[in-house]
Amino acid sequence: MPPRTTARRTPGVLASALAITRKDLLIEFRSRSVILSAVAFAVLAITIFFFAWDPTAVASVDLAPGVLWVIFTFSGLLGLHRSFGVEQPTRAIDALLAAPVGREAIYLGKLLANLGFVIVVQAISLPAVALLYNVPIGGYVLPLIGVVLLASIGLVAVGTLFSSMVVSTRLAELLLPLLALPFFVPVILPAAQATARLMNGRPVVEVSGYISILGAFDIVFLVVCTLLYPYTLEQ
């Protein structure tokens, strides 16, 4: 071999993960294929719930948390399905797997991109729900954002793993929610409870237990899913 003209060193996990995140977000920014459908779904769902709502029977602060988490969950699934789907048409996933990066870097890169996608949809949905259902969130917006972010990390951690598992199957769009939703439950339950209490004007200290549960699930899901991801790949 002639002397190599290109210096190289094995990229670190974080650098590789961030490169994958940047690439995925750039592709989504260019195509806007999923973000638009997720936002359209969110707006439509908020509107449907609003017109089905009887304000004399259910108070807005009791309905809004449920509406919010239904939207977050299902709009998130749209993005999660796309996560590894973008690698399939030209088998770009083979190039990714052939690169000298740890499998965990691929998982973390996808996870961060999915988290970015979910946060964008939430940033649109949360004010929309607050506005339409007349729920003033100004007094507890920071703890509410904290709850939403913690829950999103757990949802995306599990969803990214399952997205990788089902992407090459013929029934991927059906299998992803079927597999992921049962694992979403331990995250959505405390998140919805914490959101309901905050919207009902309860003190932040009353939701600290739920925040701890969410934090614990995040750690467990992140560690377990990162360790399991390499086993989802064809070897």
Partner: protein, 242 residues
């Protein structure tokens, strides 16, 4: 079977086996290649060519047997994958990104120190500079394949694995790709190319093998029989047999 007489091999494989359930897709392949060798692999569909390539690329674990790439044993992990480039009939490119963005992304994945400079250099080398800033989805099949090769060699791999790279290319595109691969071979890289295109592959290779049912049923090194003779051999050993 040994191809290279030299003691120092770039690629070696000994009794390499890969099974899927009870079926042996690759069934005891042995080979040795030196730097600058180009092995053309022919054979009917299902002969195990792609499986062999995927094992050498670190994408599949061998069921048994050993192989090394520049002394790194399979499956080898990141150390092995850093030495290999992969080209396929599928471009493995992102349509929404430009040619340059695709190549730069690959350079980052391989830890290339100066991503921009390396990408620019390889795009220039493959004559892709004029359309480097166009999105891949707007490029012709031949242009896309050129970018795909650029993506695969931006880190200057020691071994290039090409799985049916001529598929979908017209005669001009196939000739251009042959020239690119010959240039790469002459620069010292080892190439293994899986193809049904005998004309292009025989013009390029320093060794040729015919695979059937997971095994090499014939292996030649330079001088490889003339095209007509080899075509007849190929037909006899693979097409008729299948």
């Amino acid at each position: 079977m040994t191809l290279a007489p030299a003691a120092e091999f770039s690629v070696t494989a000994t009794d390499l086996v890969r099974s899927f359930g009870s079926r042996r897709a690759v069934n005891g392949v042995s080979l040795s290649l030196s730097a600058g060798d180009c092995l053309a692999l022919f054979g009917p569909n299902g002969a195990g060519k792609t499986t062999l390539l995927r094992m050498l690329g670190g994408l599949l674990r061998p069921t048994s047997g050993q192989a090394t790439i520049e002394g790194v044993a399979l499956p080898g992990g990141v150390e092995l994958r850093a030495r290999v480039g992969l080209v396929s009939h599928q471009t493995m490119l992102y349509d929404a990104l430009t040619a340059r963005e695709n190549v730069e992304f690959a350079a980052r994945m391989y830890g290339v120190a100066d991503v921009r400079q390396a990408s620019q250099r390889v795009l220039q080398r493959l004559g892709a500079e004029s359309f480097a800033d166009l999105r891949v989805q707007s490029l012709s099949r031949g242009m896309q394949q050129r970018v795909s090769v650029a993506r695969a060699i931006v880190h200057e791999p020691s071994l290039l694995l090409a799985d049916e790279p001529f598929t979908g290319l017209d005669a001009g595109g196939a000739s251009a790709l042959t020239r690119m691969l010959a240039d790469l071979r002459d620069s010292g890289a080892t190439i293994i190319i899986v193809t049904h295109n005998l004309d292009e592959a025989l013009a390029l290779c320093t060794a040729a093998a015919i695979m059937r049912e997971g095994r090499f049923v014939r292996l030649d090194r330079t001088p490889i029989p003339a095209r007509d003779e080899y075509t007849a051999l190929y037909r006899e050993l693979s097409v008729d047999a299948s």
